[in-house]
Symmetry: D2
Subunit: 308 residues, 4 copies
C-alpha cells in the first residue's frame, strides 16, 4: 500500500489532488484510492524530503498555478538534492470555500484566516464582500479552516474538503477572483522506469547551462529543429549569485518518442549539467505531438542494406 | 523634489536601496538623497500603483533575489496595466539583523516575528540559534521590528536600518543562510526618454508570444544572431489558462546600441504583443556588450555611395 | 555614348541581350539602344577585363542558364580582381537557329559547327535530325555562323541574329532540347551608387567564409532570421586547394531595404571577406520581398522619445 | 573481374585515377589492379550510363577540381536517372605533359591540341612558352596525344600516361598554371550496402528543397545543430526554370555514425525529395569528425531503466 506524502493537514487542495489521482488509478502500479496511505507533511519541501528519506513512496505536490505561476519550492526541490522523478500529473480547477462556524453571517466577520497564496487569489472578492475584515495569515488552506474551528478567526479562505472535515459551514463557495484558475499537481518518486508512452505525454528536464551568450538558444534549438513543442520554460537562480540560472523545460512527448530521445541525448551532450525529471502521461494532448520517425528510420535502414 | 514610492514602513531593505540610489545620484535628473521624498506603501504592487496614479514620481521595487528568484508582484506589475519604465537599478547584499528590545538575550526569545521571505533566508540560523522559538509572520522586515518594539514578539528578523529606527538592539547582525544573497532593485517611472547609453547598460522587454512550436526559439534567435547577451529569461503565466506564458527578457546593451535597436525592432515585428521596460545603466558590465556596428554602417554607406 | 563590352563577334546571344537592355533603357543614366557603342570581346572574361581596363564602360555577360547552371567565367571574374558591380539584368529565352548557306538541305549536311555549350543544348535535336553529321567546335554561336559562311562547315548551331548578319538561311529555327531554357544576363560596371530601389530588386554578394563547421549556416541565418528570401547560392573553389569555397548569394531586395541593409552589415561583420556585387531592379518579383521595417522603426523612435 | 567505365580513350587522367584506385585496392570487394577490366567511354555521362545499363560494374568519374570546381556532368548524372551510389574516392594532383613527336622542338610548334578544360589550366604556360601556336580543341587529354601521333597537331596538352601510350616525347612535364590543382575522382556503382565506417568518411546527398524562404537554412541547420561538418555545398538548376535548384551536400562522417544517421533521417523528413549518394572512406580526415553519441545513448538507456 503506497504511502503518498502531501502538504497537509487533511483538507488541502493537494490532498484533493492526491485522492483524485489515486481514485483515477494514475499511480504507477495502478492502486486505487482505497489502496494508498496519505502522509501529511507541513510543506511541499517536506513532502519531497519524505520521499528522499524513505518515509513515503511518492509525494503529490503542486508544480504550477495558472495565476501565480510556478510553485517555487517544488521546482527547487526537484532541481537539487538526490534525483527524483515525476510519474503522473493532474490539474484541478482552483476555487475556495469561505468557511465559517455555523451561524456566522457576513456581517459578523471581522477576521479572515488565509494562506497567503489563497488570499492573493480572492483579494477582490474579500474587498467587495468582507471589506472591513482583517486578513490573518494561515499556514495552509486547511489550517485556515482549523483557525476558524478553533476560534482564532471568524472566517477562513479554505477548501470544500477542509470545510467539511472541520465541521464548518460555507459562507460562500466556488470563490476565485480570476476565472481559469487551475493548479497542476505532479506525483514524484525515486527514479524508476517511466510509465509507458501513451501518445499524450510530457517530458521534463532541468538544464544548468554554461554562462555564454547563445547557450540557451542553442539548447532550445535542439528541440525546435526536431519539431518538439516546448510547452514551458522556467528559470530559477542557481543560488551562486545574480545572473546565473537553471532552466526547467517541459515538452510534449515521451522518452520513447524517437525525436524526444534524440533531443535528450543532444541536450545531455551540450549541457554541463542536465537532470531528467521524467516522462509521464498527460491524459489529453498538451501541445503538438513530436513527429514520428518510423518512416525515416525504415528509409535509413533500406539505405544501409543498399536498397532504394 | 521627486516623490519615490517604496515598500514601507521605514526601515525596509527597499528604503535602504532607495536611499542609496538617490545618494548615489542615480535618479534621472540627478537629485541627491536630500532631495527626494520617500513615499512608503504597503506593498510592491501598491508602490507601482502610486506611480500610475500620480501619487509618486518613481517607485523603488525589488525585482530579483539571488536565492528566491524573481519578485513576482514586481514582474506582474510591470507586465500589465498602463506602461511603466525602468530607469535605474541597484543591487544590495542581503543580510538580516535580529532585533530585540534592549536587554533581551537569546534564551529569552520564544517568538520571532519575520516577513516570510526573510524567514526563508535565515531558516538554518534560526534552527541553530533559536531552536525553540516560534516564528510569527510579519508584513515586512520593518514590521518585524515594529512587532518587537510594540511587544508582539520577542525578536524580529529585520534590517539594520529598522533596528535603529525602532530603537532596538541587535541580538545578531549580518545574518543570512546562504552566502551571495543579493537583491536587485529597480527604479520605475512613467515612460520617458531612457537615460543615455553608458556602455554598461541593460535592456528589458516583455514578450507575449503566439502559442506555436518554435516561437520562443525564434524570438531568442533574434538576440543570439546579433551576438546580444541574454542575461535573464523569466516566464510568467498569462492568467488565461495553464500553458500560455509571457516572457521577461533582459539583455546587455542599450536601445541606442545599433544591435539592440535592430533586435528590438525584430522582436516587435515578430511578437503579437511586446512591451519595452527600458534601457538603463548597470554601473558595471552585466555580461558581453553588444557588438558595435559603426564600422559595418560606414562600410554600407560607402557601398551606397559607390565606393569600395 | 557608353561603350559596352560583350562576348562577340556580332550575333551572339549576348549581343542580343545587350541590344534589348539598351533598347529597354535599362542602362544607368538611361541611354537607349541608339546611344551605346557595343565592344565585341573574345570571351566573357575579356569583356570584364575591358571594363577593368577602362576600354569599356560596362560589360554585358551571361551569369546563369536554366539548364547549364552558373556561367563560371562570369562568377570567377566577379569574385576576384578589382571590384565590379552589377547594375541591371535581363533574361532571354534561349533557342537556336540552324544556319546554312542558301540552298543547303538537311541531307547535304555532313559537318555542323557549334559552340560546345550550344551543342549540349541541341544534342537530341541533332541526333534526330542530322544523325550522320559530325560536330565541329566553334568559338561562339556567332562564330558557328561564320564557319558556315566561310565554308568550314555545312551547318552551324547559331542565333537568329547571327544567321541574318552573315547572310545565311535558317534550316530550322527555335531549336532547343529542353523547354524552359533561359539565360540571365547582367550588366557590369565599376562600382557606383546602385540604381534606386524599385520594390522588385535583387542583391548579390560573394562571401569567403572561415573554414569552420557551421560558418555557412550562420551566414545564411543572417538572411533567414530577417525573412530575406535567398534565391540562389553557388559555391566556387577558392583555388587554394580542394575543400575551401567562396559562396555567391543572391537575395530578393535592395541595399536600401532596411532588412537587407541589416543583413549586409551582419554578413560584413561575420565574414573575413565579403564582396558586394550590387543591388539592381529585376523588373518582376523574383521571390518574397523583404519585410518593411518602417513601422518597427517608428515604434522604436517613439520608445526613444519616451512615448508608448 | 569487375568492369570499370571511365572517360577514355586510354591515357586520360581518369584512367590514371582508376588504375590507382584499383591498385590501392579501394574497390568494394577488394580486387587489385590486375583484376579489373577498364571500359573506356566517350564521356563522363557515358560512363555513368554504362553502369546503369549493366555494361559496367562501376564508373570512375571526376567530381571536383580545385580550380574549375564541380564537374557538372557528373553531378547531373548522379542527381537524375535511376539511383547510383559512390563507394570510393581518390584525389590526384593535376599536371600536364606537352606531348610532341620525337624531334619536335618548341620553335617547331604551330598548333597545339588541347581538351578545353586542360587548355584553361595551362593558358599562361602556353602564352609564355608557345606564344605563336594556335590551340585546336581535342575531345580529351588522351585525344590530344592521338592528334599529335596522327599528325593533326604539332603538340598536345596531354597526360604522362597518354604520352607514353602513344609513343610520344615530352616537350615539357608537370605543367600547370596554378599550384594546388587537384582533381577528386569517385567510384560509382548501383546501390549496395555502403563500405564500412572507418572514422574518416564522407557522406553525400542531393536535396530538392521546397522553394520557400528559409528552406535551405533549415536543412543546413539539421547538420549544424548536430555538429556535423558540411564540407561542400553545390547548387544546380532543376532544369525546370531559373530560380529553382537542387543542392549537393557533402559532410564528414558515415551513415553508421549516429549523428549522421540522425541528420539523414531529419533531412529525409524535411525534404520533398532527397537522394543518398553514399558513405565511403576518404583515407585522411576531410574535416571535423561527427560527435560520438555512445555516451549519450548509454545515459538515455539508463534513464529508461530508471537508473541515474
Amino acid at each position: 500500500m503506497p504511502r503518498i506524502a502531501y502538504l497537509g493537514p487533511e483538507g488541502t487542495f493537494t490532498e484533493a489532488a492526491l485522492l483524485k489521482m489515486s481514485g483515477g488509478r494514475m499511480l504507477p502500479g495502478g492502486p486505487g484510492a482505497d489502496a494508498v496511505t496519505p502522509v501529511p507533511c507541513d510543506s511541499t519541501t517536506g513532502a519531497l524530503a519524505a520521499v528522499r528519506d524513505g518515509d513515503a513512496d511518492y509525494a503529490c505536490v503542486p508544480i504550477e498555478n495558472s495565476i501565480e505561476g510556478s510553485v517555487l519550492p517544488t521546482l527547487d526541490g526537484l532541481a537539487g538534492g538526490t534525483p527524483l522523478q515525476i510519474f503522473a500529473e493532474l490539474t484541478l480547477d482552483v476555487s475556495f470555500t469561505i468557511a465559517v462556524r455555523d451561524g456566522t453571517a457576513a456581517d459578523d466577520v471581522t477576521t479572515v484566516a488565509a494562506f497567503p497564496v489563497a488570499a492573493a487569489q480572492v483579494r477582490h472578492w474579500l474587498a467587495e464582500q468582507l471589506p472591513s475584515a482583517q486578513v490573518i495569515p494561515a499556514n495552509s488552506n486547511a489550517a485556515a479552516a482549523a483557525d476558524v474551528a478553533e476560534g482564532r478567526a471568524d472566517a477562513g479562505v479554505s477548501t470544500a474538503l477542509a470545510t467539511k472535515r472541520y465541521g464548518l459551514a460555507a459562507l460562500a463557495s466556488d470563490i476565485v477572483d480570476e476565472p481559469n484558475a487551475r493548479t497542476r499537481f505532479v506525483l514524484v518518486g525515486v527514479p524508476a522506469p517511466p510509465p509507458g508512452r501513451t501518445g499524450a505525454d510530457r517530458t521534463s528536464v532541468v538544464l544548468r547551462l554554461d554562462n555564454v551568450p547563445g547557450a540557451l538558444v542553442s539548447a532550445l534549438t535542439e528541440l525546435a529543429v526536431r519539431d518538439i513543442d516546448l510547452t514551458r520554460i522556467e528559470s530559477r537562480p542557481t543560488r551562486t549569485g545574480l545572473g546565473t540560472y537553471i532552466f526547467f523545460l517541459d515538452c510534449v512527448g515521451h522518452i520513447d518518442d524517437d525525436a524526444v530521445a534524440e533531443a535528450l541525448k543532444a541536450l545531455h551532450r551540450r549541457c554541463s549539467d542536465m537532470r531528467f525529471l521524467g516522462s509521464w502521461p498527460t491524459g489529453a494532448a498538451a501541445g503538438a505531438a513530436p513527429p514520428g520517425l518510423d518512416e525515416a528510420s525504415s528509409w535509413l535502414e533500406r539505405l544501409r542494406e543498399g536498397l532504394r
